[in-house]
């Protein structure tokens, strides 16, 4: 009883020891904050990695996988009821070129052909699309509306307006060029004839060099003329109806045949969904210090994709595509390289369809397991049955695919935890020193207690109990501070940013708008127990010293 009473009284009256426990408090708070933020990042990352990678992938390795339906059936048979769904994909590296303000830009992409009907059941792609219609139903048609606000002008309306502008400008360009050519021809003719150069030619040169001084040529067609031209070409009147939004999902508009002229006002090329980071650059506004999106491409723009054909002699094929949507998983690695296209169209382009039998080949089969299914066991079962190494195939879970990244993150987390625990260990030495001083200060009390019949074990437990109480108080306060910090981390980061003038959390780097946090209860308990354990361990030596004190010497101590 006296041990509890004295421990409690020492805790209330010896504030110097509370000061020594502040380092434990700080260590615990830091550990909780760091672990929660790291866990938040890891959780977000794993979530996104998992969503795009499916559970298990049957990869054809470097070649192609023929008879994919047969393989799919085999996999279904082997996995049985544990399998939820599977889908086929074609993956090929490709080059994408597009015009931006008159400059041709080239970007390397990883083109993925996906089956609109089944892909969404295996991998989570729809939640990461910008268009809300496509989030409901995956397809490769340009939409009229439903795009995220931050993209700005896009969709069919944007495509049509842009086309009209291009026509207007190209009409200008042709007339100006033509006029210049005529002038040059006149100059050369005059020189050949020995006649002096007419001043008209110089004026014309000046006119073309200075667009501001350039007057609109007579032959610039106005919109009515353009409409008339369209009418003549398409054989039907061009009216306001054509500018009305139409539901592109209601009917599939096939690629125009040779005799049907492709009209960007009305038609789209092969639909392609681009990773957000391919088309988007995040820049920090120098004046407002806010992150601004700059789009090189928008849904409705056309791009040209060049990719190698499959088979023995790969040859480049080029395909005009229309950007129909953006994919934003917030994993920069994916967002900056992935582009999705219809599986069927990609197979056609690459020549993966047998012209005689109509059989298709694919790059990989992705498998989704039922919730709770053991992925590693399923993978081992597939490997045992299908012998993939014989054919050069690879069967991997999503964790196998991202093992280097995941293990690097885990390693980082472990080392960080060790280092931070060292802070608490240092705090332990502080407690040790303070406790030795308290034991010296309390020498006489120890003598008194022993003269009253207290056992050595009892005296020892006073100081161990004191250490435990200090540890518990320090840890409790540390946990409270840590949890409040985690709950308010974004505001705190903003506050620190405002104070220091530097942004603590840069969304342009992480592609998170906020710092993600996950508070793991077992982690909090473990950190708490560890800190209390260190405080108690630090009080063992002083407590032993107190217990071993000779009562007479302790009573005589001055």
């Amino acid at each position: 009883m006296y041990t509890l009473l004295l421990s409690w009284r020492y805790l209330r009256t010896r504030f110097i020891a509370l000061a020594s426990i502040i380092s434990v408090t700080l260590g615990v708070a830091t550990l909780i904050v760091v672990n929660s933020v790291m866990a938040g990042f890891v959780h977000e990352m794993r979530h996104r990695l998992h969503d795009i990678l499916s559970d298990i992938e049957f990869d054809a390795g470097l070649g192609e996988l023929s008879w994919p339906e047969h393989h799919q059936a085999c996999i279904q048979e082997i996995l049985g009821a544990d399998m939820e769904a599977s889908t086929m994909i074609v993956r090929v590296p490709a080059l994408m070129t597009f015009d931006f303000r008159g400059r041709t830009m080239t970007q390397q992409i990883l083109l993925i052909g996906i089956d609109e009907a089944t892909y969404g059941r295996v991998c989570e792609i729809q939640p990461y699309l910008s268009n809300r219609h496509k989030q409901q139903l995956l397809n490769f048609f340009l939409e009229v509306d439903g795009y995220a606000d931050k993209i700005g002008e896009c969709g069919w309306g944007y495509r049509r307006e842009k086309e009209l502008l291009i026509r207007e400008h190209s009409a200008w360009g042709i007339s100006a060029q033509h006029q210049q050519r005529e002038q040059e021809f006149a100059e050369i003719s005059a020189r050949l004839a020995g006649a002096p150069v007419e001043p008209v030619a110089a004026a014309a040169r000046q006119m073309t060099a200075d667009p501001a001084a350039m007057q609109l040529p007579d032959r610039v067609p106005n919109l009515d003329e353009l409409a008339a031209g369209q009418e003549a070409l398409s054989g039907r009147p061009f009216g306001d109806d054509d500018l009305q939004p139409f539901d592109s999902r209601s009917q599939y508009r096939p690629q125009p045949t040779a005799d049907e002229l492709f009209d960007p006002m009305r038609d789209q090329h092969t639909g392609i969904i681009l990773g957000m980071a391919i088309a988007n650059r995040k820049v920090i506004d120098q004046e407002t210090n806010e992150v601004r999106d700059v789009f090189l491409l928008r849904p409705g723009d056309d791009v040209r994709v060049t990719l190698p054909t499959a088979g023995e002699n790969p040859a480049p094929v080029a395909e005009n595509c229309t950007v129909v949507d953006f994919y934003q998983s917030n994993m920069h690695e994916y967002d900056s390289t992935f582009a999705f296209m219809s599986l069927r169209r990609l197979q056609q382009l690459r020549g993966m369809i047998d012209p005689v039998t109509g059989e298709c080949s694919v790059s990989a089969i992705q498998i989704r397991m039922k919730p709770g299914a053991h992925l590693d066991r399923a993978r081992d079962k597939l490997i045992a049955e299908l012998q993939p190494e014989y054919w050069g195939f690879v069967i991997q879970t999503w964790q196998d695919l991202q093992r280097p990244l995941l293990s690097a993150v885990n390693m980082e987390l472990t080392i960080l935890n060790i280092l931070l625990f060292l802070i608490i260990a240092v705090a332990g030495f502080g407690i040790l020193a303070t406790f030795f001083m308290i034991v010296v200060e309390k020498t006489k009390d120890i003598g008194i207690l022993k003269s009253l019949g207290a056992t050595s074990r009892g005296v020892m437990s006073i100081f161990l109990g004191y250490g435990l109480a200090l540890g518990a108080v320090g840890t409790g306060v540390g946990i409270a501070i840590g949890l409040v910090f985690v709950a308010r981390i974004n505001q705190i980061a903003d506050g620190i940013g405002w104070l220091t003038g530097r942004q603590v959390f840069d969304p342009t780097i992480y592609y998170f708008s906020k710092i993600p946090t996950v508070v793991d209860l077992p982690m909090v308990v473990l950190v708490g127990l560890g800190a209390v354990g260190i405080a108690v361990a630090a009080s063992v030596l002083p407590a032993l010293r107190a217990a071993r004190m000779h009562p007479v010497e302790a009573l005589r101590y001055e």
Partner: protein
């Protein structure tokens, strides 16, 4: 053996004795009293910086049950050491100490701790109260040591009542919840006496209980002790260097150079 405690439980006799001890007259010495403590040829020396300093060099002593014995001697004569040996706070180098037909100098520490808690009550020159606890808590410490937490809580009401009664008897009812730093020297020593009586000991060992008090307070403490001895038949062994105090005891033992000079 626990006659004092049993009497105290009735709660009347001590108060009567404390109040009446100012007019007390010394009772005549009884003959052939049973021995409470027996010291046989006890030697004790301390080592200081490698040099052995002999303190007790063959002490033989009988302390009668229910009597007040004072041990006097000059500083360094070994009187405090002898008291510590009697109270099992230390072990003699040689010789034997007997208490109630039981040899106590060679007991294992567990039994010695038990003796200190239940059989001996100790008071010191500098009171030795625990500064973090109130007067009442200080008095209850022996019971806290004796009982487990569970047992203490079960008997808490009885223990608090007993400690309060003891403090009231010693005139400290207004100081129950004060810290030792808020008490005067005499009050602290009386609180220490109450603490030493808490476990109903059969022998009270006092190490210069009046040494740090003025004459008036010292006399007050002495009277408390004398009445305890007289009315409760408590065996008291007191170490002092004040002859006037020593004279009030039933027996006077003088130590000179670690030996009993006269008893």
């Amino acid at each position: 053996m626990n006659s004092f405690g049993r009497n105290l439980r009735s709660g009347e006799r001590l108060v009567a004795s404390v109040e009446s001890d100012r007019q007390h007259t010394r009772a005549p010495l009884r003959v052939a009293l049973p021995t409470a403590l027996r010291v046989v040829d006890v030697h004790k020396s301390y080592r200081r910086r490698g040099i052995e300093v002999p303190v007790l060099q063959g002490v033989d002593l009988h302390i009668n049950e229910g009597r007040f014995t004072s041990i006097v001697g000059q500083s360094g004569s070994g009187k405090s050491t002898l008291l510590h040996l009697l109270g099992t706070l230390d072990r003699p180098d040689r010789g034997e100490i007997w208490c109630d037909q039981q040899r106590i100098d060679n007991l294992p520490s567990q039994q010695r701790e038990r003796l200190r808690n239940r059989t001996f009550g100790m008071i010191f020159q500098f009171y030795h109260l625990l500064p973090e606890l109130t007067t009442l808590e200080n008095v209850m410490v022996p019971k806290m040591i004796e009982h487990s937490v569970w047992r203490f809580w079960r008997h808490k009401r009885t223990i608090v009542e007993r400690a309060t009664t003891l403090l009231e008897r010693l005139g400290l009812s207004h100081r129950l919840h004060h810290r030792p730093s808020q008490l005067s020297g005499g009050e602290m020593q009386r609180a220490a006496i109450a603490r030493s009586l808490m476990s109903q000991p059969s022998i009270l060992l006092a190490d210069e209980p009046t040494g740090n008090l003025d004459r008036q307070n010292g006399q007050l403490v002495m009277e408390s002790l004398l009445s305890l001895c007289r009315d409760e038949q408590l065996t008291i062994v007191m170490v002092t260097h004040d002859e006037s105090i020593a004279k009030q005891a039933d027996h006077r033992v003088q130590l000179v150079d670690g030996r009993v000079a006269c008893a």
